[in-house]
Symmetry: C2
Subunit: 323 residues, 2 copies
Amino acid sequence: MKPVALDAMGGDRAPEETVAGALLAAREGVPVVLVGDEARLKEELARQGGELPVVPAADAIGMHDAATDVRRRKDASINVAVRLVKEGEAEAAVSMGHSGATMAAALFLLGRIRGIERPAILAEIPADAPAGRLFLIDAGANADVRPGHLLTFARMGVAYARRLWNLEDPRVGLLSIGEEPTKGNQLVLAAHPLLKRVPGFLGNVEGNDLFAGKADVVVTDGFTGNVVLKLAEGEARTIFRWVKAALSSSLRGRIGGLLVRDALKTLAARMDPAEYGAMPLLGVRGAVFIGHGASDRRAVKNALLRAHRLAGSGLLDRLAHLN
Amino acid sequence: MKPVALDAMGGDRAPEETVAGALLAAREGVPVVLVGDEARLKEELARQGGELPVVPAADAIGMHDAATDVRRRKDASINVAVRLVKEGEAEAAVSMGHSGATMAAALFLLGRIRGIERPAILAEIPADAPAGRLFLIDAGANADVRPGHLLTFARMGVAYARRLWNLEDPRVGLLSIGEEPTKGNQLVLAAHPLLKRVPGFLGNVEGNDLFAGKADVVVTDGFTGNVVLKLAEGEARTIFRWVKAALSSSLRGRIGGLLVRDALKTLAARMDPAEYGAMPLLGVRGAVFIGHGASDRRAVKNALLRAHRLAGSGLLDRLAHLN
């Protein structure tokens, strides 16, 4: 079985949390290779008392480097990880490092799937929908798009919902500012008639329809999608902080808080982005996942599990025959 | 003292909730006139045991009518309410009805303030900021804008934060998908250098910065802003529903839930859009407020209080001298 290649140098808490997350995933049966500074990674593995194969990479792209650095820094860990996918040595690549650099490495080394002009990031957001989540595409790869790109995003989202979540007929919504086809910005107004070609298209959805689960796949440009994703995560964090503060503001609340702590913790964990781990970049010729820079070991583990699952799902073959 | 004119026929729950809200506001010292079907409003007033002046309007724009109907249906309640503002008979107009029609009536009858090409809707969203909220502009008036419009939105937002909330030096953020000035869509990239002219501009903010209170005034186009506003409201509603469900899923949780109920209710009320009541359309020559169609009496009351406060704040004079 081919392993998942983890850019072990990527992310604010690498390599400690990346190595710890990789060991957790390996214990759950996912084969992993670590990519990065060989000496440091072996030292970290020894410190944590675990064993994993290491593929050396002499360089690493930092969070403040330019995404385009991947083109000349061939030995950067993200390049080495993606190259393993390209060469058939790994089934997927995962990085918690510089998102732009990961996208650039994927586009440059793997290239786009024929027929997909713009690869897009798919994010899972908790929602009152059949899968317990919605699939938001694009969550940030393309800040400016044309109407036709949204059609491709919709098709990729549907394929993902089917292959990864067994939703046979996912409901597809176009994110807008009113239900009627006449509501929206120029991009959405032009995309709406195109999306009618997608089975399951139910028309426009609005911001308040997302958590309510009105659609399984929500299609939008990468600017709006990235704002939505970060707002959704940030609002959940703030509300849980406010709930905590509200409960600790009275004796009654503190006593009740002890009793409800476990229930709230379970809920907070469901809302935690670490639950998802990382987001796939759909439309490139290989499975590439982009995670939060702040990822902890749980996020890294879940990202690796998810990458392994996607690689074995047949989704990439499906994306090659979208039209 | 001039009254606030309430389009008493506007909204899903008119005239019962509009009349009830108007009576609540009047009890708190806000002079109100009801605009609409005279017989029905007098009957409703009698039923609720209250008294308020009524200005008759023979027609009313329904939620499924076209916004442009305001141009020919002169006797529609929203037109009569806005005309009272234009003629100096009312200090502000408030409607929970068709948002597009309210905007159209305001633009058509009052016109734009000189120098403000695009009036914008300002929404207040709860946040960990000094005022306990942030000011989002534009929350939905303009789906497509040019960079210069965002500069005007920023200036209107700053004036609002100063006059209505006494924030002397509001921090202004441009909503984008990365902190760096090089991150964003074409609109944001072009607007960023313009916004440097605004005192208090701290650069780009991201979706997760909103509830965290990184900025007091958050500037965006009306498409993104409307998605953000509705997502923020919808997510809060869903999370509180999930919290309730989580607490009722075990005996321990149910007992704890009884103890924390009041604390959670206070918090949920803070997140409830009815707390804000309605949003001002800034940039037209008069105070006009647009509320949720689903508004209850509490929302109507708060909208009237807010309209009264804005009308007395000197904000409109300030907006006439922005540059």
